[in-house]
Symmetry: C2
Subunit: 333 residues, 2 copies
Amino acid sequence: MTTPTYDVVAIGNAIVDILAQAEDQFIADEGMTKGSMQLMFSPEEADALYGKMGPGREISGGSAANTVAGIAALGGKAGFIGQVADDQLGKVFAHDIKAAGVDFTTPARAGEPTTARCLIFVTPDGQRTMNTFLGASQYLPAEALDADMIRGAKILYLEGYLWDPEEPRAAMKRAIEIAREGETWVAFTLSDVFCIDRHGDDFRRMVEDGTIDILFANENELMALWKTDDLEAAIAKTTPEVGVLVVTRSEKGALAMYKGRRYEVAAQPVPAVIDTTGAGDLFAAGVLHALATDRPLDGALVQGAICAAEVISHYGARPEADLKALVKEKMPY
Amino acid sequence: MTTPTYDVVAIGNAIVDILAQAEDQFIADEGMTKGSMQLMFSPEEADALYGKMGPGREISGGSAANTVAGIAALGGKAGFIGQVADDQLGKVFAHDIKAAGVDFTTPARAGEPTTARCLIFVTPDGQRTMNTFLGASQYLPAEALDADMIRGAKILYLEGYLWDPEEPRAAMKRAIEIAREGETWVAFTLSDVFCIDRHGDDFRRMVEDGTIDILFANENELMALWKTDDLEAAIAKTTPEVGVLVVTRSEKGALAMYKGRRYEVAAQPVPAVIDTTGAGDLFAAGVLHALATDRPLDGALVQGAICAAEVISHYGARPEADLKALVKEKMPY
């Protein structure tokens, strides 16, 4: 294989996050499941919830988009494929991801619906509860894929969230085929427990048939995938066919499995957890960047923990600090 | 006079800020005057500068709008009059100011131009340099004024920035007449040195003819108003006709003059200055809220300093903390 042009190319929802503080009581009153992502199916539903929200701040988001922004901040070469509308929030998303150093060329989509928005309620403990209106994001067509971009990547990274809408699901399946035809590894994140409720069959099949080379999940997601409350059993079911399994465990850090060997890392200390939005995305950024540059898995986990710690120390799911400098300062070797 | 419905009603630019980090070298290379506000006169100019900007975060702003958001956060009753366009950023502005507890009923304006944007470059020292595309904001018509809202206010607050465009200037002049017909005090901020370069004659006239009851300025602005480099001389020229003069002095705190008496306050300590955007606006919020509720000027200055310290400790020009609780905790009496 020739030297890849990209460390990681990701396909994901192109979302602008709107973040506001909220009390736990509000989350309960609105019937939200704290810490989860719920879909809003109409602009009216989104507007009604927005009307109940406190003053917000808009920061580009989207799970896989956050990850590639992190990879670029680490000095990696990254590309993103995702659908925005031709509107102000679409311009914000496109600006921010390009300004982060990520190649992004998917043309904006004219007309309704609008660019995706995610209303994120951050409770005093820093936990985030998300409500997403997918808007234009759900109309990413397979034709929008840049096949050369995917072929030129060391790793193709896909988010489970994007499995919901039909067109992007077809696009991701096509992208996996392109990756499989070449030497591009396929990395996947399970994204969310509710997402697994909806698409567990597909996800299990992709794990079992060896489609996924690198799988990201948190503990609950991995257990939900195998419908068990035994984490070790879930790990055992995943590892035979998945090359690298990374399981994030919030404040307990993370573990990874590779060729039967287990790696663990503690969470990096943070002065204060302000907003956990993007913690998993940035953990994945640290790990994927290290794997794409052929570094060992133990160091990859440490880099993931450093990136995750940075992003939870402020509002928003994109890094604010110079991650490259931060890793250089904090890596034990 | 009957009990006022509002502590403060403000007329100002309705702006969404886009904040990004920048190095001092960038400010110099772009020929910006660090710490100032410059106008961008076309969407193309705004887009070109946005293209050079790092990843941003969008937070509602606008000088007088920030002040009334602060007053509402202090428990005051506030209203805002300003012009947004019927677009996504206009919806963001309207949502945020209403969610902050401020009455805002100015109808959105259809068609071009877009809602005002301010590209704010924050240097490592926390200083902000602003580039504003006024967009729809400059088309606030006098007919959009809610005369009853103004009559029902203890204080009408106007920002010098809005003196630039013709229609809002006419609207503000009409608002001053309405205030003068009743018992509403007129408060004014000089806003920016460049703004005084353009409109010094008008501003001096309003000071000298007693139009302005409460004047806010920083040291440089007050000296620029009287074309002097002697602060005391500038104060002496201002005080005969202005009831209350408040001069903010950045890290040196602030001083105020009332009936020949001088009041001073030190700046409140902050752990780290992150972004000075909104410092003057929130200082004004603290002072105006206290004056509207008939509290003494020395306490008003302390309240202003507490509010300013909160807003410079994070990105964005609107308060994030519960200002009412913060003041209760920090006020020495």
